[in-house]
């Protein structure tokens, strides 16, 4: 299995390189492109784990939809790279402070890391034999059978978020001419066009 481990190191190295480039690129569009590259490598790592369904969903959802919207927004920003660099020293102390706090938190979390005694058993238990059940099916069983209510509730949370976004951005303007397809289809030629025999030299009054 030397190829698999070589592939693993390749993809994880590339993922780290991509992630570093996301934060070090000056141009935000390049950052987003590197982010997409990182997503791809993460998907490849999932494939190596044998979780092909999760890998494909990662590509479809994050690369195919979320990152497109990122790119969409970032492309329309008018960013001056020199202007961005001006604020660097001003914001450095605050940024450094937040970084240090996060580092301490991480140290605390990892310092007190213990495995629950039944965790190993739990980890093995719900995993069906991958030879018999494909991982699409296994995930489906967990989501739609064991945790169906939680799944529905998370869907409702997303619905609320969607309605919120629409309510925030919707503005009703008066005096806008809108195409009404039903009116157009319902229009009859007899109501709108009349054929008139015009006497020559006189015209219609």
């Amino acid at each position: 299995m030397i190829i698999a481990s070589l592939a693993f190191y390749l993809f994880s190295f590339m993922a780290v390189v991509g992630a570093l480039n996301v934060i070090f690129q000056r141009n935000p569009v390049h950052s987003v492109l590197w982010l997409i590259f990182t997503f791809f490598n993460a998907a490849a790592l999932f494939v190596l784990l044998g979780a092909e369904f999760v890998a494909m969903i990662l590509v479809v959802v994050y690369v195919g939809a979320v990152a497109v919207l990122f790119l969409f927004v970032v492309m329309m920003l008018d960013i001056n790279v020199i202007m961005l660099r001006e604020g660097f020293l001003k914001y450095l102390p605050v940024g450094a402070l937040i970084g240090v706090i996060l580092l301490i938190e991480l140290a605390v979390v990892f310092g007190g890391w213990t495995m629950a005694p039944q965790a190993e058993q739990l980890r093995v238990f719900p995993t069906p034999n991958p030879g018999i059940v494909t991982n699409t099916e296994a995930l489906g069983r967990i989501l739609y059978t064991d945790y169906a209510y939680l799944f529905q509730v998370s869907g409702l949370v997303l619905l609320v978020a969607m309605i919120g976004a629409i309510v925030l951005t919707l503005r009703r303007r008066t005096g806008v001419r809108k195409q009404k397809i039903s009116d157009q289809v319902a229009r009859d030629s007899q109501d709108t066009v009349t054929l008139v025999q015009v006497p020559s030299g006189k015209g219609l009054s």
Binding site: V59, V60, V63, G64, A65, V68, L71, F72, M75, Q179
Partner: protein, 336 residues
């Protein structure tokens, strides 16, 4: 050393050979598709079309390729050079990637992926990147407008494509493309799913940016949309990518709805014909419809395109999905 050959070298060579066996016919199909398109549209508009180079103009695609190769490559000032050249490469490679999972005949595929349909969906949803990158990197208003339109259009139509795919997959009971085709033995899915077949084909037209949804490159408004600044080989790669995408999408329609490599009737004179021939004939039919639509319909207006995607196709495909699931549960035919 013997282990090296049996474990790595021969499988590697075999994979490369298989890839070539797929890519070369696809590239040739693409070359003659451009010719077929011009000839068919010519015939539909009572013209002759290109008929000078070679018999029936058969060498025209190669003449075009040579012409494009010898043109000058121009990089616009203010363009972002790396992204500018990355964009056509991305478009071209993505159009070829989809072929990795398409079974062209019983057992003829590069990879028999368990999530084949999802893979194809993922690849087709990535197609937008080539266009968006090209539009942004060109540093041109026309290109940028084309890219913006394209991003919105492809994201919108993916949603209904996804729902149609789910209805088909529910009926087939698998995400594996080979199993989807095998499930169509007896009845091709375009018969029970006929409304979705039409809807899927229209969405595919939008997804490949073909007429009547070719707004990203609407030449009457945007010069050539995202391709405005491209010339020579970088333009050729976009062109290749677009046409190979058409073929790949036709292959997807064939696999999901038209029974893949299966013969239309399961008795003697039809079963003698090998599966690959049926597959090619079905693809040719889909491609003909692509061209036919181009010659027939005028371009959609942008707001109408969005309305069609979100207000017509999305509700329709959702309702059909629920109907399909309900019917399958009611009749107890749901695959488990």
């Amino acid at each position: 050393m013997a282990e090296f050959w049996t474990d790595f070298a021969w499988p590697g060579i075999w994979i490369v050979l298989k890839i070539l066996l797929f890519v070369i016919p696809v590239a040739l199909t693409m070359a003659f598709l451009t010719l077929a398109e011009r000839r068919i549209i010519g015939a539909m508009q009572l013209r002759i079309g290109p008929n000078v180079i070679g018999p029936f103009g058969l060498l025209q695609p190669f003449a075009d390729a040579v012409k494009l190769l010898f043109k000058e490559t121009v990089i616009p000032t203010g363009a972002s050079p790396v992204v500018f050249f990355l964009a056509p490469m991305v478009t071209f490679s993505l159009s070829l990637l989809g072929w990795a999972v398409i079974p062209v005949s019983a057992g003829w595929y590069i990879s028999n992926l368990n999530v084949g349909v999802l893979y194809l969906f993922a690849i087709s949803s990535l197609g937008v990147y080539g266009i968006v990158m090209a539009g942004w990197a060109s540093n041109s208003r026309y290109a940028f407008l084309g890219a913006m339109r394209s991003a919105a259009q492809m994201v919108s139509y993916e949603v209904s494509i996804g729902f149609v795919m789910i209805s088909v997959l529910l009926t087939a009971g698998s995400l594996n493309l080979t199993k989807v085709v095998e499930a169509q033995e007896g009845m091709w899915f375009f018969i029970p799913h006929f409304p979705m077949f039409i809807l899927f084909f229209i969405s595919v037209l939008a997804e490949t940016n073909r007429h009547p949804f070719d707004l990203p490159e609407a030449e009457s408004e945007l010069v050539a949309g995202f391709m405005t600044e491209y010339s020579s080989m970088s333009f050729a790669l976009f062109f290749l990518g677009e046409y190979i995408n058409m073929i790949a999408m036709s292959a997807l329609v064939t696999t999901l709805f038209l029974g893949g490599w299966l013969a239309p009737f399961n008795f003697i004179p039809f079963t003698w014909v090998p599966g690959i021939v049926w597959f090619a004939m079905k693809i040719a039919f889909c491609l003909f419809v692509f061209i036919w639509v181009r010659a027939t319909l005028p371009r959609y207006r942008y707001d109408q395109l969005m309305r069609l995607g979100w207000k017509v196709f999305l509700p329709l495909s959702l309702v059909w999905l629920i109907l399909t699931a309900g019917f399958l549960v009611y009749t107890g035919k749901l695959a488990n």
